[in-house]
């Protein structure tokens, strides 16, 4: 779709027990090689609530695995450490970025235990010049017109449940405007003023497809099938560019 690209995609395994799951091992299992950075906490705290995390940055992309009580998250995202303009230029094709991950999951489940719940989440951005242009993207998707002058703080969210691969799933869509405000601070400070550039705006579309927790465990050998269904649904909703996609 013209102008839109994925900023981040996330796969989530909700587990009762995460004992003996280490982010570095899960990372190596997924991306064929050790991560560049690893961290581990024997006792997680609010400041560092994870048990372990492992990540790498390559070619403008960041890959990460996070293990924390009750869940394992796998992220593929645009490298957030880049300059803002470069970051917005690194938006990627979701299917292509996940191809390797999906292929690995088919061969061997990421986690060796059944899951309480599974989720796939993607955030898409479309750089725009003005806030009004972002509102136009919202209008296109929702089919609702906003007549108010100078709109701002636009947030729209809706969830619709549907059965995917025989499992009841949430399909939560959140539409908003994403802004990056660059500042330039000279060191050492000279005049004391901070130079700022105009905010970089993007229309933002966040699609979260997750299984509805009903108490039943999802067998580990089915995880890749369920996650593929969730990812396909995300791609279908995003590609349709219309809220009517939830009617299916």
């Amino acid at each position: 779709m013209s102008g839109w690209g994925a900023q981040q995609v996330q796969l989530v395994w909700f587990l009762t027990d995460v004992a003996n799951l280490h982010a570095a091992e899960l990372f190596s299992q997924t991306w064929d090689g050790p991560p560049d950075q690893t961290q581990a906490n024997r006792i997680p705290t609010p400041e560092a609530p994870f048990l372990s995390q492992a990540g790498s940055r390559r070619d403008g992309m960041a890959m990460q695995v996070v293990v924390q009580p009750g869940r394992v998250d796998l992220f593929v995202s645009v490298d957030p450490e880049q300059e803002p303009q470069k970051m917005l230029g690194s938006l990627f094709d979701l299917t292509g970025a996940l191809a390797q991950v999906v292929a690995k999951l088919k061969v061997r489940p990421l986690v060796d235990r059944d899951a309480f719940r599974l989720a796939a989440v993607a955030t898409f951005l479309k750089p725009v010049d003005t806030y009004s242009d972002a509102v136009k993207e919202w209008t296109k998707f929702s089919g609702m017109k906003i007549q108010a002058p100078s709109p701002s703080d636009l947030v729209f969210q809706i969830n619709s449940r549907a059965a995917l691969s025989g499992i009841l799933c949430n399909r939560l869509i959140n539409l908003s405007v994403f802004a990056i405000q660059p500042f330039a601070i000279s060191l050492p400070p000279t005049s004391g003023s901070v130079a700022s550039a105009p905010a970089l705006l993007s229309a933002r579309r966040h699609v979260d497809c997750n299984t509805v927790p009903d108490g039943r465990l999802l067998e580990s050998d089915r995880h890749h099938i369920i996650l593929s269904s969730l990812m396909s649904e995300i791609v279908r909703i995003h590609s349709s560019n219309s809220i009517k996609s939830l009617e299916e």
């Binding site: 009762t16 027990d17 995460v18 609530p49 924390q68 009580p69 009750g70 979260d208 927790p213 465990l217």
Partner: protein, 198 residues
């Protein structure tokens, strides 16, 4: 051996609250959960006066929860506390057994990530077990975890009627109905992994 939660709670029932039991935990780690929960952009609300069917606040029903929301921070503090209590030596007033700590962590992780339930208060009991407590309308619930065994006591704060039962829970099996009812409305969002709550 199953622990009876009755003895400890009987003393509290006369006061209508277990808040005194919670104080050591609050003091030791500066835990911010006092009488209620604080929601973003909302004043602090006393959970005991909640009119919600489940102990939850508005921000948790909005679908997407921020990684560093008050709720996720409070749950993170509970998880940290459980692990630290498992480290205390046997005989310490805040000691809990390793098996109890593991069971508590599993239940807290399930409730945090999959349901909209408020973070509970908690206190140690009988030097091996841990009790979580929630207020739901006029009912006070105490979930006591002793190793792999769970007991639930529900106390009517008005007429002091009590109902206690043992609860089955197998972390490798389907979640029991009591866990689903304790958790309240299921989450509709996966939520961001709480990579850094600061």
């Amino acid at each position: 051996m199953r622990r009876s939660v009755k003895t400890a709670i009987m003393a509290d029932a006369s006061r209508g609250s277990a808040s005194a039991e919670v104080m050591p935990i609050v003091t030791l780690w500066g835990w911010a959960g006092t009488n209620g929960v604080t929601s973003e952009g909302d004043h602090q609300r006393d959970a005991s006066n909640s009119t919600e069917p489940f102990p939850s606040v508005k921000e948790w029903r909005s679908g997407r929860e921020r990684p560093n929301s008050d709720r996720s921070r409070q749950f993170a503090r509970l998880l940290e506390t459980v692990r630290r209590m498992g480290d205390f030596p046997a005989g310490h007033q805040l000691h809990i057994s390793a098996e109890t700590a593991k069971s508590c962590e599993e239940v807290l992780g399930l409730l945090l990530n999959n349901f909209q339930v408020a973070p509970p208060k908690m206190f140690p009991q009988d030097s091996e077990s841990l009790t979580f407590t929630w207020d739901t309308f006029d009912i006070k619930r105490y979930l006591t975890v002793d190793g792999a065994e769970f007991d639930l006591l529900e106390l009517n704060k008005i007429n002091k009627a009590r109902f206690e039962r043992e609860l089955p829970f197998d972390p490798h099996g389907d979640a029991p109905s009591w866990l689903l009812s304790l958790g309240g409305p299921p989450s509709s969002a996966a939520g961001e992994a709480t990579k850094n709550a600061v």
